[in-house]
């Protein structure tokens, strides 16, 4: 189990298929456009937004630079509050812990609050393999689960589906897993939401065990927080007798007072609201109120590898708001599935390869290139993750990992290095290029500005020229021009 969807091809191939899907592009353009406008409006209301961002980044840095101290403190606080703390090195260990807890309680089902960590470790599949149904209760997760589909956005996993597709999935699938959708269901979002309410209520009322993640875990007090909209989170966190929360070790904040900064940053960045409808906070077990058996699984699964990378470490500040997805010109056009991971978009392009390691998988190695480096993601990030910086850093790592391999690009670079390291060889190469330039100067294709460009190149160069304009070489090199005109002092100083 991993953060990557099995069998997804490298980003350029997956993106090509997504780009051809006009329905998908329409759905995405509509959804990301809507959320961008909402975010901009509520962020604009906060005078000290930049100061808040800086505070959010600094608090996360403080936590990460002293993570061992805070993890031990969190464990003590949780234990004191009556929770049981488990540690999981990787996905398999975390899944085993949750399966074992469900088995001890003799249940064949759990209800789940939307959680990126449990999606990352493939918990639902592990539970199914153990004969335990995992019911996703977030509306978008329900759409993805019933449609046997993959999530494509951090906040709105079914963003690639429009209302009529959702209606079809509900009509076809709900009855197979519980209460069926009404037969006269229309595609208005209000009716679709009502169908989900009716379908899930029986599951909430009977479930014995719930599984959640956490948006924040306060080391000082042992308080966990889940931020949501629909009330499915409150149902899961309140009604079952047993609650298991899978929490990535980067979710910590040092003190209770620090939560204030994040509760301002997250909703405005995420759903574009001043505050999300519901936030639940709980500290271990409260007698007579909510689950009386509370487990917390602290998950590594590659996070310590990210922590060890001094440039990449900042990715662990991420609070999973998904603002970077919504502004990304690449995400908006290719959608989340192209990234082949539960973490799509700009943050996924850095987080996924770091969690899993670069240099051993073509798909993972393609992700740091899934960007134009325009920097919009950094601009909106509420915890100021410099995603372009990390993308470039990871590209270096990818190149270093493949140095010396007999690839066309490496051969071309070697040839260039040979030609350019000697004046005579450079001059000879310039002669050839000038001759080619003179032959092709009449080319009809023009780049903006008027320079002639070539279409697709033949042979192995086709992969490079596929998405780029190749300029027609200049008819005369700068060095040849200088020699002919003595630096412009002699004869016709103009270009040939």
């Amino acid at each position: 189990m991993s953060a990557t969807f099995l069998g997804t091809p490298a980003f350029p191939t997956a993106a090509r298929a997504a780009l051809a899907d006009t329905q998908l592009r329409r759905n995405l353009a509509h959804a990301t456009g809507t959320i961008r406008a909402k975010r901009a409006a509520v962020v604009g209301e906060v005078d000290e937004w930049e100061r808040l961002r800086l505070a959010g980044a600094a608090l996360k840095d403080r936590t990460l630079r002293h993570l061992d101290t805070y993890l031990v403190q969190l464990e003590e606080s949780l234990t004191r509050a009556g929770a049981t703390v488990h540690w999981a090195r990787d996905a398999a260990e975390a899944n085993r812990i949750v399966v074992d807890i469900a088995r001890v309680h003799g249940t064949d089902e759990v209800v789940k609050v939307k959680s990126m960590a449990t999606a990352e470790i493939g918990l639902n599949e592990a539970l199914e393999a153990a004969g335990i149904h995992a019911w996703e209760t977030d509306l978008a997760e329900l759409i993805v689960q019933l449609g046997e589909d993959l999530p494509s956005h951090i906040l709105v996993p079914a963003i690639h589906r429009n209302r009529s597709e959702v209606r079809e999935i509900f009509l076809r699938e709900m009855g197979r897993h519980g209460k069926a959708a009404p037969r006269d269901l229309t595609d208005t979002p209000a009716e679709l939401a009502a169908a989900a309410r009716a379908h899930l209520r029986e599951k909430f009322l009977r479930a014995k065990v719930a599984v959640s993640g956490a948006n924040f875990a306060v080391a000082e007090t042992g308080t966990l927080a889940v931020v949501e909209s629909e009330g499915n989170g409150r149902m899961c966190l309140t009604l079952p007798e047993v609650l298991v929360s899978v929490v990535g070790i980067e979710k910590l904040v040092p003190t209770w007072a620090d939560l204030d900064v994040f509760l301002q940053l997250l909703p405005r960045s995420s759903t574009g609201e001043r505050m999300n409808p519901y936030t639940s906070m709980w500290t271990g077990v409260t007698p007579g109120d909510g689950p009386q058996e509370v487990h917390v699984v602290l998950l590594d699964n590659g996070r310590t590898d990210v922590l060890a990378d001094e440039v990449g470490r900042q990715a662990l500040r991420c609070i999973r708001c998904s603002a970077c997805l919504n502004v990304c010109p690449v995400y908006e056009r290719t959608g989340g599935h192209s990234y082949g991971s539960v973490y799509p978009g700009p943050i996924g392009a850095i987080l996924t390869p770091m969690l899993r390691g670069v240099g051993h998988d073509t798909q993972l190695d393609s992700l740091p290139y899934a960007s134009s480096l325009c920097g919009a993601c950094f601009e909106v990030c509420p915890v100021r993750i410099d995603i372009p910086e990390v993308l470039v850093h990871l590209r270096t790592k990818v190149v270093d990992a493949h140095r010396g391999e007999p690839k066309v690009q490496n051969l071309a670079m070697k040839a260039a290095s040979w030609a350019l390291s000697d004046a005579r060889r450079t001059a000879a190469a310039e002669k050839v290029s000038g001759a080619v330039g003179r032959v092709l100067r009449g080319t009809k294709r023009r780049a903006p500005g008027g320079r002639g460009v070539l279409g697709a190149l033949p042979g192995p160069a086709a992969a490079w020229s596929d998405a780029r304009d190749v300029p027609v070489p200049a008819p005369e090199s700068f060095r040849a021009w200088w020699a002919r005109t003595d630096g412009g002092r002699r004869g016709n100083g103009g270009a040939k």
Partner: protein, 202 residues
């Protein structure tokens, strides 16, 4: 080695670049101060709660009973926390003495007080103390009527966090339950109460 020790070991190895003498306080954090509460915040609170399509009713202690009766109209089975102040409690309310989840599902509405209100975000916070009921009580019924006193309104999130006790379970409520999961089109009313009525007294 236990998973705990191994993970803590990996964390320490990963942080080799952090000087051993550095303390958490050495990582400077500059954050905005909480804004002092003014009486304009009561108005702001009312506006912002209403923005979420909740119903807000401003009233005085004297006319509260009238507004309360109106808010509870169409709620044949009303749930009230057993420790709800008697002057608020309608005579026919069902007291929540650890009803089962199935029983909770048969009531139509619930009446509670709150711990505080946040003006800037239009948020009501329950710390599930006296009069506020346990968490499930304000979740399963379809209508939540919440009485907030004007002196409970604070300016912003920072002020709220400073006042709250983290060891208590907390529920922050900003409007009725909602979703934007279909085409990011906001719809009020999913699993939590589909109607939220706030009676702002004072």
């Amino acid at each position: 080695m236990s998973a705990r020790d191994e993970i803590l070991g990996r964390v320490r190895t990963a942080l080799r670049d952090v000087p051993g003498t550095e303390t958490p306080a050495d990582v400077a954090v500059d954050r905005p101060e909480p804004r002092p509460t003014t009486h304009e915040d009561v108005e702001l609170f009312a506006e912002r709660v209403a923005d979420y399509k909740a119903t807000v009713v401003r009233c005085t202690p004297e006319d509260l009973p009238t507004h309360l009766a109106a808010a509870l109209e169409g709620v044949p089975r009303l749930l009230a926390p057993a420790d709800l102040p008697e002057d608020l409690r309608p005579a026919d309310a069902i007291l929540d003495e650890q009803l089962t989840t199935a029983e909770l599902d048969t009531v139509d509405g619930v009446l509670t007080t709150a711990a505080l209100g946040i003006a800037e975000t239009g948020t009501i916070v329950l710390d599930h103390g006296p009069g506020q009921g346990r968490r499930a009580a304000t979740l399963v019924p379809d209508r939540h009527v919440c009485v907030v006193r004007t002196d409970q309104v604070v300016a912003d999130v920072a002020a709220a966090v400073a006042r709250l006790e983290p060891t208590r379970p907390l529920t922050w409520i900003s409007g009725p339950s909602a979703t934007s999961d279909i085409e990011l089109d906001r719809v009020e009313g999913v699993h939590g109460p589909r109607t939220l009525i706030v009676l702002l007294v004072g």
